[in-house]
C-alpha cells in the first residue's frame, strides 16, 4: 500500500481507511525525511476513500514544501471521479 523510495513516499491510490490510519502512524516520526509523495495506480485503480486525500492535504499542511503529485495545481483528474478542484482556503493560497 505504501513504500519509501529514498526521499519519496509512494502510496497506492486505492488504499483503504485502515491503511490510511497505518500510513499516518508511519509518517508521524518520519516527516522530515519525506520530500515528495507519489500516488500510484491513478490510471489503473480507483480512489477508495477520501480519507487518503485528507491525509495528503494534512501532510502538505505539515510540510508546505512537500511535492504531492495529486495536489499540484488547483485540480486533478481522478479516473471515474472526474475532475477534482481543490479549495485550500485563503491562508493557504
Amino acid at each position: 500500500m505504501f513504500e519509501v523510495d529514498g526521499e519519496t513516499l509512494n502510496v497506492e491510490i486505492d488504499m483503504s481507511l485502515e491503511e490510511v490510519l497505518e500510513l499516518r502512524e508511519f509518517l508521524l516520526p518520519r516527516l522530515e525525511y519525506i520530500e515528495a509523495v507519489g500516488v500510484r495506480g491513478v490510471d489503473q485503480a480507483q480512489l477508495a476513500t477520501s480519507a487518503l486525500l485528507q491525509l495528503l492535504v494534512s501532510l502538505k499542511r505539515s510540510n508546505p514544501d512537500l511535492d504531492i503529485t495529486l495536489l499540484e495545481g488547483d485540480s486533478t483528474q481522478l479516473g471515474d471521479l472526474g475532475i477534482l478542484y481543490w479549495n485550500w482556503g485563503v491562508s493557504d493560497e
Binding site: L31, R61, D80, L81, G82, N87, W88, V90, D92
Partner: protein, 741 residues
Amino acid sequence: MSDDKRERLRQIFIDEASEIVEKLDIDIINFEEDPGNRDLLHELFRGVHTLKGSANSIGFLRLGTFVHSFEDLLDYYRSDDAPEPDQQTIDLLLEAVDVIRQVFDDEVAQAEVLSDQVRYDDALQHIRARLAGDAPAAAAPPEQDEPLNDLAAEFGNDAPRSDTTESTPTSVKTPDYQAQLEDGERLYAIRLTFDSDIYFRGYDHCTFLRMLAEQGRLLGSHWDLSAIPSLQELDPQTCFIGAVDVFLASRESMEQIEEIFEFLDDFEYQVREVEHTTGSPEDADSVSARIPPDMESSETPGGDAQQGQDTTPGTGAPEVAVLSRSMQQSDSRADQARNDIEKQQKANAKDAPRRKEEKRSYVRIDTRKLDELFDSVGELVIAQNFLYENQEIRALDNENVAKTIETLSKITRLIQNRVMGLRMVAIRDTFEKMKRVVRDSARKVDKDVHLQISGEETEIDKTMVDALSDPLIHLLRNAVDHGLETPDSRREAGKAGTGNVWLRAFHKGGSIVIQIEDDGAGINRQKVLTKALERGVVTEEEAGTMTDTQIDQLIMQAGFSTADQISDLSGRGVGLDVVRSSIEQLRGKIEIDSEPGKGSTFTIVLPLTLAIIDGMLVRAANETFIIPTLSILESFRPSEGILHTYRGRGEFVNLREELLPIVRLNRVLELSHETPSATESTLVCVENERGRFAILVDELVGRQQVVIKSLGALNRFQEISGGAVMGNGEIALILNVEGIH
C-alpha cells in the same frame, strides 16, 4: 427495495427511534435545569432531526409531521437571538415528547386513527402558535427579493461563505458546466456536507461520487480542504473535509438523484437543479443563484418553487435562477446545520477522541444471544468443575495436571465474570427517567422537590433494569405525594420549603442496593395501625406487640393498596404490595426505615444478577440444597436451653428473646420421617414475607455462587425455585424461602 429489507429497516428505525424518544425526555429535563446549555439544545435538535428524517423515510408520516414542527421550535431556540425558553416552553416541549411517544406507538401499531387525535392537534397547534408568537422568522416565508441563503456564496465569486472557518475559502470558481451539457441532460449541483463521523458510519465521499456517476456524468467537484489540520492533529477516522460541491450532468430526475442519499442525515446533502436563465452569461467562471422559499416548510400559499432573476451585487456575475427542491429543511436551518458542522470540525482535537470512544463503546446485541452465551459459559463452568473434582484425575497426583486444571479453572471463572459483565448495564438511564417522574409529581401536588441522584454508574443485570422502572416510579411518587409535606407545613416544622428526595444506588456485600429517601414527615404509625385494624390486616393482639419495623411493613400489605391517605398510590394503580411482589420476583427484598418528622427510606436489595445466585449449601437427609444468602439472617447450632416445644408438636428457638418457629427441612420436603436432634443440627434463620423462622438442616456445606437452572414444568413445588448443577455432577435444589413456611 425488497419487503424483507424494508421490514428490517423498519425494525431498525423502531429500535433507534425508541431510544431517541426516551432520551428526549431526559434531555429536556436536564435542559430545564440548565437552560443555558447550548450543547444540550443542539443534542436535542439532532435527535429530533434524526427522528424526523427516519420517520418520513419509513412512512410514519403523522409522526414525521409532528416532529417537523417540534424541530422548528427547537431550531428557533438554537438561534443566537432567541431568548432562553421559559417554563411554559419547557412544559410544551415535554408535552410534545409525550405526544411523540403516543404517536410513535400508534404508527408502530399501524393504527388508522391516532389514539388521541385531540391531544396531537392541540400540541401541534400550541407549537405552531408558539413559533408564530416568538419566532416569526421561522414560520413565515422569506421576502422574495432577499437572497435567503448563501447559494450565491456557494457558487458565486465574492459573497462570503456561510460556513465560516478561520481561513475562509474564496468562493468557488467553476467552469461553465452548462456548456458541457448534452441533449436531454440537466445540470445538478449537489452539495455534500458530511458530518465528521462519516467514516465511522461506513460512508465515504468516493462512494457517493461513484453512485452519482452511475446516474450521469461527473463534470467536476469542488473540495473545501480549508479545515484539514496538520498531520499531528489529524485523526484520519474523522472527516475534516468541508463542503464538496459536485456538478452532475444527468438525464435522471431529481428524485433519482436524491435517492442516492436517502440514508444520510438531511443536513449532509442538498440537491439542486441548476437552470440557466435567459440572462446573459457574463461571466463563464462563476455561477450565482438565489433560493426561493423552501417548499416543504411553507404552510402558506405560494410555497411552490419560483424562478426569478437576481444580480449578485457588485460583481456583474451572471444571473442564474435555481429551482430549489431541497427535500428536507429550510435554508436557514441548513446554514445553521453547516455552522454546527464547522464548529464541530473546529473542535476536533477535543471532540474526535470522544466521538471515537462513543462510537466504539457500544454494540447493539440481541439479549437472547447474550443469554445463550451465558448458558454456554455456565455449562463450561460445570464441565470444568467435573474435571476438577474427577476422582480418577485426582488419583493421578500429577503436579502438571493439577496446575493445568487450576489454570483452566481460573480462566473459566474469568470468562464467566466477563460474560456476566456483558449483562450488566449502568442504572443511569433508569434513574434519569425518574427526574421527569419527580418533576411531574411535584407539579401535580404543587410542592417544591429537589431530587438528588447518586450512584447512577452502579451496574445492574439488564433483565432487572426494565422490571425496576415501575416500582421506582411508584416509590418516588409515594415519596413526593405522601412523604413530603407542603412547603407551608415544612416551614412550620422548621424545615426548608423545598423537600428533598434522594435516589441512590450502590453495591453492598454482593448485592445491589437502591434507596429512595425523603426528608418528609415519616410514616404515621398510629394511623397505619388504625387502618390495619380496620381492614382486618392485623388483630388487636398482634397490633399490641408489633415493632416499628413491622408496623412500617404493613403499608406493603395487600389491604393497603387502595387506601386513601396513608398509602394512596395513584397513577398507575399499583399498590406498595405489588411493588414488593415485583422486587421479590427479582429475588430481592424491600425494607422501610422511617422516623416521624424526619422522613422515610425505602431500601431495595437485589442480587447482582438473576442468572447466578449466591447461596449457602446445606445438607438434609443426604441431599444438598441451596438457600439464597439474601434470605439468610444467621445460622448456628442451638443449645438445649433455647429450644422449646409447644404441646409436643411445634418447635421453637429462642433467639435473643424472639421465638422463631423451627422448620425441619427433611419433613417439609418429605425426604424422611427422621427427627435428628436439633442440638446436633444447624439452624439457618431466614426471613420471608410472613416473618422469621429457622430451617433445621443436618449441616452447612459452604457458601457458593451457582448458575441457576430453571426446572420448568418439573417444578410443581412451592418450596423449590430452581436447581443448580454442582461440581460433582449432583443436582442441588434451590429453596424458595417464601414457600417453605
